[in-house]
């Protein structure tokens, strides 16, 4: 089986030749190729080259055209600060005043900020791996884009103080994600992962998620489905147990779960959904290959009979991580067969 066949079998709860492995390697692919993270996130060709090198070396199942959480906000007008070897940080928010919300202009993915670089990376990755491996693009979820556009505290206070204005902002953010995600699918991404850290129950209560964010995510998933996305992969880290039951209603096909949620709990909450997770991200920095191999084996044991599982980390594997740990995770799945 190639990676796409393996992933399709897993999505359908059929038996693949082995469990798929998705090490969530973004900036680390740059570091491993000797490219500083700040250069990696600004150059689509470089990003693609580093991803190709990494997948060739370790032989896992997906390449990622993922930069950082600020791509959409920068495209709207946010000003970022780039420091050597680090992900960029927001220096000036695009929305300084809530009155600006009525005058926002939807960014064009072909010209705005780093969006074209990301599309370049997607195209190059698809050209290189074809349908052998999964090409994963990425859009931020609406709430995360809103937080990046005006700052998380300001955005959340607005949600409570002026819900009508906030929904207008969120609708705009959803439109950005739709346009950017569709451009990625058109450029060759098998799927745009929806990354929504601000929607974590660590940030907003589950009722807020259900009433405010769920309809937006539902729309996003429906449109990606119609555009031919292979699957909808929703990535929310942290203690997500209280929102996982909403995922089928949203249209999610792959649910990421972080170390806060036990595999048993994730299975109980989502018996019919493909899951990916959940090795603690910091383990890839602080632990050695033996520990990663043990943790991987434990997860593979737990999901052996159930299926519908992709071996992964609970969140991004940081650029500070030890590359041997990637090999340990991939080998654990390959050795199991």
């Amino acid at each position: 089986m190639n990676s796409i066949e393996r992933i399709n079998a897993t999505l359908n709860f059929e038996k693949p030749d082995r469990v798929p492995v998705f090490p969530q390697i973004f900036g680390l692919a740059g570091v491993m190729a000797g490219v500083p993270v700040d250069a990696y996130v600004r150059d689509g060709h470089l990003l693609a080259e580093c991803q190709i090198k990494a997948i060739k070396k370790y032989g896992y199942d997906a390449v990622f055209s993922v930069m950082d959480t600020s791509v959409e906000a920068e495209a709207v007008g946010g000003i970022l600060e780039y420091k050597k070897d680090m992900y960029p940080t927001m220096k000036t928010y695009a929305i300084q005043d809530k009155d600006m919300i009525d005058h926002l202009v939807l960014p064009d993915p072909n010209v705005a900020g780093r969006m074209p670089e990301m599309l370049k990376a997607v195209k190059r990755l698809r050209r290189e791996v074809g349908d052998e491996h999964l090409v994963v693009g990425c859009v931020m979820g609406p709430l995360t884009i809103a937080s990046q556009l005006m700052g998380m505290e300001t955005a959340l206070y607005l949600a409570i103080d002026e819900p009508g204005v906030f929904i207008k902002l969120l609708d705009f953010c959803t439109e950005i994600a739709i346009k950017f995600g569709l451009a990625q699918i058109q450029a060759g991404a098998h799927l745009p992962m929806i990354f929504d850290p601000a929607a974590s129950p660590a940030v907003v209560p589950p009722q807020f998620f259900r009433e405010i964010e769920l309809p937006q995510l539902q729309k996003l998933c429906r449109i990606f489905d119609e555009a031919g996305s292979l699957a909808n992969w929703l990535h929310i880290a942290g203690p997500t147990a209280s929102i996982l039951p909403f995922y089928p209603e949203i249209g999610v096909d792959i649910a990421n779960f972080d170390y806060y949620v036990s595999p048993q709990q994730a299975v109980a909450l989502l018996p019919d959904l493909c899951l990916d997770g959940n090795i603690k991200s910091i383990s890839f920095i602080e632990d050695g290959p033996e520990e990663i191999a043990v943790k991987s084996a434990e997860l593979l044991d737990l999901f052996e009979n159930r299926g519908g599982f992709i071996l992964s980390s609970g969140c991004e594997i940081s650029p500070l991580s030890c590359p041997e740990n990637i090999a340990a995770m991939v080998n654990a799945a390959k050795e199991r067969g």
């Binding site: 959340l156 940030v203 907003v204 991200s281 602080e286 650029p319």
Partner: protein
């Protein structure tokens, strides 16, 4: 009557209703209740109730932010010139160290600490260690709180205790928290306490004050 109003004030702060909280605080003042009593029997009780409500599973930033904002509005009303009469439990220095610009966790801890009776000196985000050490030297806090959302800040956190000691500062305890730091261990970070939530830090400070943690 005043007891009932105080109870309503606690409820209004817990749900984060700023307008209602301010109205009730004003009523209490008009009835002759002192600012200190409103802090101790109103704001601090509200913070304790929020702490009970916020189990690890239910802790979320939004609810804490709303409660914190209401508490801060009442404090501003009670102490318009900014004098921290109720900062009777000691000083805590807070910082997000250089390399990390995410300060929402620190800001929430700050609100909870102020509302719980501590004086807070905020070194802000992206703070160089040298600047933090200068502030610690000047303020002589009972504790230092370090918040970190991203992994690259970990090497900075690890240095703080050693560099404090190199300057001859041994008193303040170091507390750490935030999405990245709490995945690690206090031993690995070389800190005295690793908090799962902001309220854990307040409990730790209370234990310190009670002498339960003197080594």
């Amino acid at each position: 009557m005043t007891e009932e109003t105080m109870k309503l004030l606690v409820e209004a702060i817990v749900v984060g209703d700023c307008t209602q909280s301010l109205d009730l605080a004003r009523n209490l003042c008009d009835s002759g209740i002192s600012a200190e009593e409103i802090v101790v029997n109103g704001i601090e009780v509200a913070m304790a109730q929020l702490d009970e409500k916020c189990t690890m599973e239910q802790f979320n930033l939004l609810e804490i932010m709303l409660t914190g904002r209401a508490a801060m509005e009442v404090i501003k009303f009670l102490f318009p010139s900014g004098e921290m009469v109720m900062a009777r439990k000691g000083t805590v220095v807070l910082a997000v160290l250089e390399g990390d610009v995410h300060d929402i966790g620190k800001n929430i801890l700050k609100m909870i600490l102020i509302a719980s009776g501590y004086q807070v000196v905020d070194c802000g985000k992206n703070c160089p260690i040298e600047k933090l050490l200068d502030v610690i030297e000047a303020e002589k806090p009972i504790a230092v709180g370090l918040s970190g959302l991203i992994f690259p800040v970990i090497p900075m956190v690890k240095q703080v205790k050693e560099r404090m000691q190199a300057r001859g500062i041994y008193g303040p305890k170091i507390m750490a928290g935030g999405a990245a730091l709490k995945q690690s261990s206090k031993e690995n970070l070389n800190v005295d306490f690793l908090a799962e939530t902001a309220f854990d830090s307040v409990k730790y400070l209370e234990q310190l004050a009670g002498g339960e943690l003197n080594e």
